[in-house]
């Protein structure tokens, strides 16, 4: 090969290779840019929801914690902080500085600390969402009163509270311990988190064994007939069916026919399991197929039965792939909204569900609900919920990687 046989062709081949490499690199750069933009924008709009503005008030607790009237105590404390407010209209504005949930916080404190009954305490209470938005800089003092939804007097009180160190941003524990609420400042994702957890648990318990068993049977035992081909085609189709259709199926069968409770994670998990199973079967079959046939032959040739060869040798080798498939399926299930809407998990859930039969909602549905709400403070909570959802997903993927490592090195 001392001379180039076809210089034009060779040049074109090199050019094509360069073009392809460039195109590939460009595609990856673009994808990373989009992903980065998404993550940065969500983080920027959501991180502030993990903090919450609170106001410190001096309150004298009642002698009997069971008595009512905590709302009055909060109002009284506010009036004591600003003694010059006397007009009825001004008082109303003053009371609007703290959340309507503040009275519950005081009551909760009083019941949790019966020893403090009858004594005066200093307590941090959740400020209203409008105050919160101003402190977080989502609205500015320069904005018109209608835009910032705070009057000039309220702004001056806030400034006074800030200078006296009675108003500050603290970690937003409400967000993780409360259910949904009409007041953004006391709303939280606990109900959605628990709902998602229970649904996924049910989904895993149902879909994993069924899916893996189906994959093993279809791949290793079923004879290749027109019937198994038909089943195979249908499983592939099922994996591509829009998820809302599974929701309708769940509505028709689980709710209307079997009369299972509406909005329950049990039904949500069952619907998600229907949706996840085809994915588990398909990836399970692929990883079983990837196990070299020599291992099956080795087992059969020393007199292992078919079941022994599969469960002793083939399945352990296919396990990393099966687990990856399962986690991919579960990750898809955790982000699913549409089928849950159909079975009523879109309800306004204030109480945190304690079991699989309690009404619940799910993280993506919570995002959907809050994204629809008019209050400005729900905007950051929507983004924060997305952050939690993404963190959940990343944790699951991490578990997938760890499990794969563990099973791959297992001897």
């Amino acid at each position: 090969m001392t001379e180039t046989r076809n210089p034009t062709l060779l040049g074109r081949r090199h050019r094509n290779e360069k073009m392809f490499r460039f195109a590939g690199l460009a595609a990856i750069t673009l994808a990373i840019t989009f992903l980065g933009t998404l993550l940065v924008s969500i983080t920027l709009s959501g991180y502030s929801a993990f903090q919450q503005t609170r106001i410190q008030l001096d309150i004298t607790l009642p002698a009997d914690p069971q008595t009512a009237g905590y709302q009055g105590l909060v109002k009284q404390a506010l009036r004591a902080t600003f003694p010059d407010v006397s007009q009825r209209r001004d008082k109303k504005e003053l009371y609007a500085l703290v959340s309507s949930g503040a009275a519950y916080e005081v009551r909760q404190f009083a019941r949790a600390n019966p020893a403090k009954a009858g004594t005066g305490i200093e307590i941090w209470l959740t400020a209203s969402d409008n105050v919160d938005m101003l402190i977080k800089g989502k609205v500015s003092v320069e904005d018109e009163a209608a835009v910032r939804r705070l009057s000039d007097r309220q702004v001056s009180w806030i400034e006074h509270l800030t200078t006296t160190n009675r108003l500050e941003k603290q970690f937003n524990s409400n967000f993780f311990s409360n259910g949904d609420s009409r007041e953004p400042e006391v709303s939280g994702i606990a109900a959605a988190l628990a709902g998602s957890f229970f649904s996924l648990l049910i989904c895993l318990i149902l879909a994993f064994p069924l899916g893996v068993m189906a994959a093993i049977y279809l791949e290793e035992f079923a004879p290749r007939t027109w019937l198994t081909s038909l089943i195979e085609v249908n499983i592939n189709n099922l994996a591509a069916v829009p998820s809302i259709v599974f929701g309708l199926l769940g509505l028709a069968i689980f709710l209307n026919f079997f009369e299972l409770p509406r909005s329950a994670p049990l039904v949500g998990g069952m619907v998600l399991a229907l949706m996840t199973m085809p994915t588990i079967i398909i990836t399970g079959r692929a990883s079983l197929k990837a196990v070299p046939p020599s291992i099956r032959e080795a087992a059969l040739a020393i007199g292992a039965s078919k079941v022994q060869s599969v469960f002793h040798h083939v399945l352990p080798l296919a396990m990393p792939g099966v687990l990856t498939g399962t986690i991919i399926g579960m990750a898809r299930a955790i982000g699913e909204t549409a089928p849950l809407l159909m079975i009523g998990m879109v309800a306004f859930i204030v109480d945190v569900p304690k079991g699989i039969l309690d009404p619940a909602t799910a993280l993506p549905v919570q995002v959907f609900l809050w994204a629809d709400s008019p209050e400005r403070a729900f905007e950051e909570r929507t983004a924060a919920t997305i952050i939690v959802l993404l963190a959940f997903l990343m944790a699951m993927n991490l578990v997938a990687v760890i499990l794969r490592r563990k099973f791959e090195t297992r001897w």
Binding site: R296, A301, I302, G303, A304, H312, H313
Partner: protein
């Protein structure tokens, strides 16, 4: 089939044909002085195939094969690629059952019963007729577990010491024990190719089979490892009946007592190894052995 490129492994036979004949002269001299017990054993057939026809879908792979497998001897199946020798071997322990399109007609007698008969349990059959494959295929488990797996599933060991003894004996019989005795719990896949193949042989003999089928057991190994396996096969034939598929005519000549030549699905010629190599009857056998086809 008539290509004369020297790249294929069986073609190297052409180069070694001269040595082969010299090798033979020595061997046949030795054979005459060998013990009488060997000739007695030769009369006993461990397995007999009768009018065996095999189809893969519409294609017929074997035509009317009738072949006896003598006890305590090494029977070599030789022939060009695609001639059906591996198919025949896999019929002997019903490994072809795994292939769905495979259809078998005819009879293979083992203990005076047809192994394709309805009352034969294939799991039990394969424990009695073991197999070693072309590519070493140890389980991705420890050396110990590789050998212990068979005895475990067949319940051959009553306790831990029993199992240890079976594993040790099998490894010793496979001439592997000394090399691995310090690392029985190292993964079987960490061994060299030749060691892996001996591990596979140990795994096969651990379940105490009567017949061992070997499908080109040395074709994935280097010459030194091959020599090791061949010596081992020579040892094993005293205790087991061995059927071996090989691409290497020298190997067939070195280790086997009986040779069967397959060509395009037909059994062309069979006889003692000396006779088939020294004085083949059929023209096709002559052509193959002299390296003109293959």
């Amino acid at each position: 089939m008539n290509s004369l490129t020297l790249s294929s492994p069986e073609q190297s036979g052409l180069l070694h044909l001269a040595n082969l004949n010299i090798d033979f002269a020595k061997r046949s001299a030795a054979a005459q002085t060998s013990s009488i017990s060997e000739t007695v054993a030769a009369d006993l057939n461990r397995m007999e195939a009768e009018n065996l026809n095999v189809w893969y879908g519409q294609t017929q792979a074997l035509f009317d094969i009738s072949l006896d497998i003598p006890q305590n001897q090494v029977t070599a199946l030789i022939g060009p690629s695609g001639c059906g020798k591996s198919t025949f071997l896999r019929c002997l322990n019903r490994m072809n059952d795994v292939i769905e399109s495979c259809r078998i007609d005819g009879m293979i007698r083992f203990d005076d019963a047809d192994i394709y008969g309805s009352q034969v349990d294939v799991v039990e059959l394969r424990a009695r007729i073991g197999m070693v494959f072309q590519k070493p295929n140890p389980f991705p488990k420890s050396i110990y577990d590789n050998v212990a797996y068979g005895p475990r599933i067949h319940g051959l060991a009553s306790n831990r010491e029993d199992l240890d003894r079976i594993v040790m004996e099998s490894l010793e019989q496979a001439r592997l024990f000394d090399e691995v005795k310090d690392r029985l719990h190292a993964p079987g896949t960490s061994l060299s190719g030749g060691q892996q193949q001996r591990l596979c042989i140990a795994r096969a003999i651990a379940v105490k089979p009567e017949v061992i089928l070997m499908d080109e057991p040395c074709s994935a190994l280097d010459p030194i490892a091959t020599a090791g396996i061949e010596a081992l096969i020579g040892d094993l034939k005293d205790a087991y009946t061995i059927v071996m598929v090989t691409h290497s005519m020298q190997q067939a000549a070195r280790v086997s007592q009986k040779t069967a030549y397959f060509h395009m699905g037909q059994l062309v010629e069979t006889g003692t190894t000396e006779q088939v190599f020294a004085d083949p009857v059929d023209q096709r056998t002559r052509d193959y052995i002299s390296g003109r086809i293959g």
